[in-house]
Point group: C2
Chain length 373, copies 2
């Protein structure tokens, strides 16, 4: 349909792509399931056991359309965050929220700032609405707040994307730095503060929530620490003028009723969340030690993954990645230099990490062999 005259000029110009190829696609291609699934920063420890009861109960009501206001989950999140429900907007994952927000603000001729190597799905949405993307480099393997703000000023950007903690490097800035960034957002610009990994970050990573400040919209998810990537639940936090603008164009019945219930149950079990973040921290330490044992350099991580500097170039890291995948370990790596000297390993239960540890020496040996040629 690329050449179909019925498409809008913008749609005709876009490729039909998948921002991320799923592990299932790779499994279908090889005919072999992965033995470890450590590539998408999922939480292999899973959600609170109470989520399963909530899903089973909600299944009995699966014949009913979901509440388009997501009222119960929205109210629970607002209470948890000590804000009002108007300051919360829920949709099917941060991906969906990023798409709606981009649609609200960005059209052809509008400028957007992100970091080179940051979240590809955001870039996909910007391209999908005709925006012009400007990427600034990471500095010392962290996103560079000053450079992002400077670029936003330079190009009169309407949106800045900034993740804290960051993916794919796992690094973070402290709350004071983020607050300074928010206060520097240029007039006419909105800062997207993606906090998908906040629950696994050190205390002091997130600035206090201030819903009177319309310069920033924060995005969080049940896909990471809460262990519910498959249920697609994300939420935005911000000034009500910003969050409620989503009602202009969002798909009001886009959230599954089962996911609404799963999110409520997961949020209610903060004890489990605390326990699972402890497990993630232990897994992070273990992955780091495995990397060190093989002469690699694990980056300090504030997330549920460890990014490992393979201490050579992107070709070498890709060879290591390929060696792991060939050995049944699903992992991913950053796509842009110089970040692509690294591979990225998600935390998970010990058997999954055991499988990674067992596969790494062979993958490294293969990569070194290839590299010498």
């Amino acid at each position: 349909m690329t050449n179909d005259p019925r498409l809008t000029p913008l749609a005709a110009s876009l490729p039909a792509t998948v921002p991320f190829v799923g592990p299932e696609t790779q499994e279908r291609a090889t005919g072999t399931p992965f033995t470890a699934r450590l590539g998408a920063n999922e939480n292999g420890f899973g959600p609170s056991p109470k989520v399963f009861d909530a899903i089973a109960a909600a299944a009995n009501d699966a014949w009913k359309y979901p509440d388009p206001e997501n009222h119960d989950l929205c109210t629970a999140l607002a209470a948890h965050l000590d804000i009002t429900p108007d300051n919360v907007m829920i949709d099917a994952g941060i991906d969906t929220l990023l798409g709606v927000l981009t649609r609200l603000l960005i059209g052809p001729g509008d400028h957007v700032v992100t970091s080179a190597g940051a979240y590809p799905t955001f870039n996909y949405h910007v391209a999908g609405f005709g925006g012009t993307l400007h990427a600034v480099p990471y500095r010392d393997d962290r996103e560079d707040p000053a450079a992002l703000i400077a670029m936003a000023n330079e190009v009169s950007a309407k949106l800045i994307y900034f993740a804290n903690p960051d993916n794919p490097m796992g690094t973070h800035h402290d709350a004071a730095t983020v607050t300074g960034m928010i206060t520097s957002v240029p007039d006419g610009c909105l800062l997207i503060l993606d906090e998908a990994y906040l629950e696994t970050a050190p205390k002091g990573t997130a600035p206090p929530i201030d819903v009177t400040d319309s310069r920033v919209i924060r995005m969080r998810t049940f896909s990471k620490a809460y262990g519910l990537a498959g249920a697609r639940i994300g939420y935005a936090i911000g000034h009500a003028d910003v969050t409620q603008a989503f009602n202009k164009v969002r798909n009001h019945f886009g959230m599954s009723r089962l996911s609404q219930a799963a999110g409520r149950a997961a949020l209610a079990d903060q004890t489990y969340l605390h326990d699972v973040t402890e497990k993630i921290a232990q897994s992070r330490d273990r992955i780091s030690q495995i990397a060190k044992d093989h002469g690699l350099l694990p980056l300090p991580s504030a997330t549920n993954f460890v990014t490992i500097d393979c201490r050579q170039d992107g070709v070498f890291a890709k060879a290591v990645l390929d060696g792991l995948i060939a050995r049944g370990i699903f992992v991913r790596m950053p796509g842009v230099a110089p970040l692509n000297r690294c591979i990225r390993i998600s935390c998970g239960p010990d058997p999954q990490i055991d499988a990674f540890a067992a596969a790494l020496p062979g993958a490294l040996a293969d990569a070194q062999e290839t590299h010498r040629r």
Copy 2:
């Protein structure tokens, strides 16, 4: 944010609306749950019991992102329909599919044709992408294929929306009429054939699927006969050039993993589907008889609801509707004259229909009283 200078001009012009107010919103406002839920054409008989097992099994994998290709459900649908997976595009309900399709084809200056009183969410998407909507009247309480085609020619439309069977009237055209309509679609135009209610329609309602014809895209759902409105599962059927164009802009991880599994289980149990459509037919007859018993005129229905002509004007029908709602019966009605002389009652289990039957005399008496004043 309506006056926020950061919004695109189009977004700034749009109201922050909900196309349909959910029954939960009404329940929260009154503080009283509805005793019968017959307003959204949900299937109160529920999905196949096998769906519950499938959901429970999928819940164990809820920590994993869903397959962005929806491969297993897509393949199952393709096999069921005797087409290839490339001819199927799955997303979170027909609402989502309509939004993506509108985005692909429609921008400011583009023209779209529908029927006056047809699906409001489609109109919402057209407005949301800046299209100009042209509505032709129903003829004898059915959508008017010839008038839709004539209008499409007149305004050089890029999209026509046509539902068969139709909502909100429940009427239908036969396959030959639909085929004639497809062959009359003007160059440069695409016909959306919404078949959400097909499973409850008489044999001979749907023309054969011809995926070589890029003039039509058909949309179907698990929300109606399959009893899974809460899981948000819709699919489009068409020429691969059309269905695969969705990959340009769709939210690839928009489908919940639980919903993917629920859809597969529902599709696999065609015996249950057959049985439930029998129950729906019986419920349809019962609702029609109740209407006749009170001097009202039920329209012939090919859907899982019965539209009842209250034999007076829209003010009177609205009074009947209000009387039913005040008595705890959630129902809806068409929004545009002359269709709005009717109320619309979804099929459901006997206790729900009993509650409707018990409430109707009082609602009618109140409406007649109000009308006399």
